[in-house]
Symmetry: C2
Subunit: 397 residues, 2 copies
Amino acid sequence: MSYGFEFCLPTKVVFGRDAHEKTGALVKECGGTKVLLHYGSGSVVRNGVLDLVKASLDAAGVPYAELGGVVPNPHLSKVYEGIDLCRKEGCDFILAVGGGSVIDSSKAIAYGLRCEGDVWDLFDHKGTAADCAPVGVVLTIAASGSETSNSCVITNDLVEPHLKRWYDSEIARARFAVMNPEFTMTLPAYQTAAGCADIMMHTMERYFTNGGSLEITDALCEALLRTVKDAALKLVGDPDDYETRAAVMWAGSLSHDGLMGCGCVGGDGVCHNLEHEVGALFGVTHGAGLCALWCHWARYVHSECMYKFKRFAVNVMGVADTGDDERTVLAGIDAMEEFFRAIGMPTNLRELGVEPTEEEIRQMTRMCVASNAPEIGSAKVFREEDMVKVYQMAAEA
Amino acid sequence: MSYGFEFCLPTKVVFGRDAHEKTGALVKECGGTKVLLHYGSGSVVRNGVLDLVKASLDAAGVPYAELGGVVPNPHLSKVYEGIDLCRKEGCDFILAVGGGSVIDSSKAIAYGLRCEGDVWDLFDHKGTAADCAPVGVVLTIAASGSETSNSCVITNDLVEPHLKRWYDSEIARARFAVMNPEFTMTLPAYQTAAGCADIMMHTMERYFTNGGSLEITDALCEALLRTVKDAALKLVGDPDDYETRAAVMWAGSLSHDGLMGCGCVGGDGVCHNLEHEVGALFGVTHGAGLCALWCHWARYVHSECMYKFKRFAVNVMGVADTGDDERTVLAGIDAMEEFFRAIGMPTNLRELGVEPTEEEIRQMTRMCVASNAPEIGSAKVFREEDMVKVYQMAAEA
């Protein structure tokens, strides 16, 4: 194998207890003259984070307009609203204050500001972006990794059923990411756990592949997975532990900035792809949806990717190598299921609060194919019948 | 602890078997109009790498001037020569084809092109660089990490005794690093092993600290150290294994680009500092010099940093946790010494070919204080008497 890759991480990470105080200066450093302050449902208003960010912008003499109301699985309608507002107010820099949904909405607005035509065309894979306005992030949820990643996921809420689609481009990477782990301490336990699961999933999507990988990258993935697993368990009982919050927050960025995939050929995003459609149809929390599907996906595919599942069992889940690979691998998947339960995550669709009909399963499968391709995955290549099967396993468990 | 840090990795890494073919296009992307092709003693001429790079520049229509002859512990006189040549030839981009010495010489030339006054003032810590010409790298030795790091070490050969000094700045990070692991296959076994040792040292310098650190960073350090240790042993018998060369090459960059120190407070570069003076006085291979000193440093300081030395013993060297921490820690250091021997590295100054007199030890100590500070280190804070002691231990072993 050649294990070729390209890697660049231009986002300036500013991490620590006082990191947010640098926000205004960072916007100025990036040439921003007026900011669109973009946020979600109001938790950043209630917990005071937005005021801290405003104070930093004021101190740097950077004016801003505001647009809140971003929802999980962020909506295209809000993106259009943001583009219009930026044009009206003359904003040339989008500052996301929140987690993955707010960041992705900000990236989409930034694309829209610099593209001719409809920004949805990018997500519909009808075009590529030649330019993108600058985006900065003040992160409040460790989960998506969008603060340093090149990815962006938007849900088109203007069609029925809603369409959840992604668009990746290096030009949308945030110019800076301000990360104060204290900002994640007010998150509910469920969101904290779902975030940890999401971080682990981003890593495992790169790790589980039949395409080959670099040993150094596999080892880094395992280190990250072990750390986040232990941290997630610790945060159940001690949500205000700064050091543990810090480890998770930094792991979240590293899990999705490309580092954990350097030299990996392929990678397997099937579980993520399947979850996207559950999210689009039932509006569940992304990380929780992933947990509800993962073990079923893993049991369905493991026999075609034994080498990696065995490494995972031993090096990540701490399962003893029994000498019987099948037993070791299944014990690793069982241990993961136990871990999900221990942090309060669902391990099937029923526990997620979703009981899809056969027709809804068919619908999610059709949407998954439409959003991606007829064949996806690397640990095991999935076609429609495989997708249906894993949805059914997760629904019947 | 706050564990605050800043991190940005603007160097575009292009990795793989065909990576070098992109060199010319990368220079153009960075706006370079004429290149100074900078290299060492001629191995890149003999093994054909320089011709491959020239072919890529030609294909992209990028003209170049050439300056070879960079020596290990690269000389200030060559830097001056490079600055003069660039001015005469109108070169606005420095392309390093080689390892750490060539890259550092290139960075120093790049500083010199954009600074008023004497570039040595930077290394003499009499000033800071406001600007730096763009540098690109075609890497041929996995060791220094200089291809993605912010650091630069130059030896002033115009004074006696020679002065080896460093200067770090974000503005000198290479614009791109072309990494083809095949280019490292022609390295002699000694250089390969010394490179692996250097990579491990860069990581350990961040890992061993009493200042506190982030769990995620400690875990990544341990993963990197285990990987490079295993790879170094494998390369002794199988130097042409592409996957192992690739793991070491990528680990080399990751060990020194800042990632392995994110959230580490302090870090301990004492062993590195001590070696610099051995290198300046006796001209030894840097990685080998580090091996000759490390175990003596470790045995001298371990009792003041037991937590980290125990983690190192168990998580990196695979030593069983005996319950008796002192025994576990010393077994870890012994295992590291065994590892150095197994890859053909020296474990004391005599094996390095250096037998310093008492006066030479005093001289190296004075130089170390002059290059750094009267007190250095974090695992144990070193003063002059500690430096003398470790040099003596390494000389008498």
